[in-house]
Symmetry: C2
Subunit: 272 residues, 2 copies
């Protein structure tokens, strides 16, 4: 059977309609969807063109498309809703309810979240991304006092993507420090991070998963031996426990989950 079409449509980036739609589709097992995202649908002409695309998809698949929309402009929204799809409109579902509750009208046009530059937010992110890049992989101990958090873990335990996500999503200044074989043998904390014990957060990982990741990078090396992975992970955890460093296991977590976990456990506040 043809896959059922699913559209994610927005007059801005489409990120909200995508994450909303994906969370919902994810609740239906055994159904295969054919996804298409249409961002920046912000003129009646683009909306009209899209109606044709949706109607064509309906005809070709023989199935009614699911159409997830996050369109602020009511005029545009109404045009899209003339299509043959089933419309799940984010603003229709909630905006009116909130207007009633607050007793005022919504502005019904793009605001801060939807495009107009927010210089302060941009600067905070740039600052945080630069900080993370300058303090990736223990490159430099300089200015570590300005870090919001310092992630610590063995090589390939997921430190870098997590730091970058924290920087981009929350403006958090996240440094990271890789535990070297020397560090792992020592009972003391690595010299570079010792003065910042209260900012440290540990990442651990299942040795089997670590091996798979390392094997991709350096096949059949000592580095990617399961015994090496097991020993390193166990030594790292011993360090976290000995020095009372909070830590989490990255194995079954997405970058988003790790970031939110760390924000919560370290009581970090977003910087914008």
């Amino acid at each position: 059977m043809a896959r059922r079409p699913a559209f994610f449509i927005s007059d801005r980036t489409g990120l909200t309609s995508e994450s909303m739609g994906e969370a919902l589709l994810d609740q239906f097992e055994g159904i295969s969807f054919k996804r298409a995202t249409y961002p920046f649908v912000d003129t009646p002409e683009k909306a009209q063109a899209l109606v044709h695309i949706i109607n064509n998809a309906a005809e070709q698949s023989g199935q009614r498309p699911l159409v997830f929309t996050s369109i602020i402009d009511e005029k545009i929204r109404e045009i899209v809703k003339t299509s043959a799809g089933m419309h799940l409109s984010f603003f229709d579902a909630f905006l009116n309810k909130i207007e009633c509750e607050l007793g005022i009208s919504a502005r019904h046009k793009a605001g801060r979240n939807h495009g107009i530059a927010d210089t302060e937010r941009y600067d905070a992110r740039m600052e945080a991304v630069n900080f993370s890049l300058n303090h990736d992989d223990g490159i430099s101990g300089k200015d570590l006092k300005d870090a919001d958090v310092i992630l610590m873990g063995v090589s390939r335990s997921g430190k870098t993507p997590t730091c970058l996500y924290l920087a981009l999503q929350y403006g958090i200044r996240a440094a990271n420090y890789p535990l070297t074989p020397d560090d792992l043998e020592s009972t003391d904390l690595p010299r570079m991070v010792k003065a910042y014990k209260n900012k440290l957060f540990g990442l651990t990982i299942q040795p089997e998963r670590l091996q798979a990741i390392r094997q991709e990078r350096r096949p059949d090396s000592n580095y990617s031996q399961i015994n090496t992975c097991r020993r390193e992970v166990s030594d790292a955890q011993a360090i976290f426990r000995r020095h009372n460093i909070p830590f989490t296991n990255t194995t079954d977590k997405s970058v988003e989950e790790l970031a939110v976990n760390i924000m919560q456990m370290c009581k970090l506040k977003r910087r914008f």
Copy 2:
């Protein structure tokens, strides 16, 4: 007057309830909200504790809190809904409608999008982040043939955060190349990227904004003079036009918008 409390609650990361809630709150000018995010509310005990927190906020502020929830588990959701807040439940609004349309029941428990590891997705992101880091700021021309896109622009035009966002959000392998004074004076494309003309995408920026950013980095240098910024931006745009390289202005765009713009203009497909 006390600010009106707004809660973003989820049994997973809270990213969906936050972006949904923020998009809605953004529609109401002149009202000041006191925001609080509660991720990982996944037990009846945590839900019950939260009901008290919401009720306290209602009492202290003298205003009914807005409660945006993205909670898959119905039991947990029902507990949260006993609070004194106004409940805007993402799954209540849409899940039942989709069930009717599809003629099957939702699983009503966390799936792929909500936590259980998706190794393939994680690997694609790691790969892309590593690629972007290895090809940041023209560090290396090695493997540029594997790039999905190569961003080009003057120093501080926003290349790095955009590349990293493309990598984390879409698994896109985005390299970037800074246009040096030598490049800007040449009529030819820079040697490192010349062979990959079809992957190039230009970033430009308002000279005044560029100056403000550069002034933060190196105050009162030649680099941050308005004339330097004007000349570099104008030379960069001339290069983009001469070689038919698509480009966009970063000045009024968020990292998200830039990324979606580039995906669209370069017809890139997410890698997971």
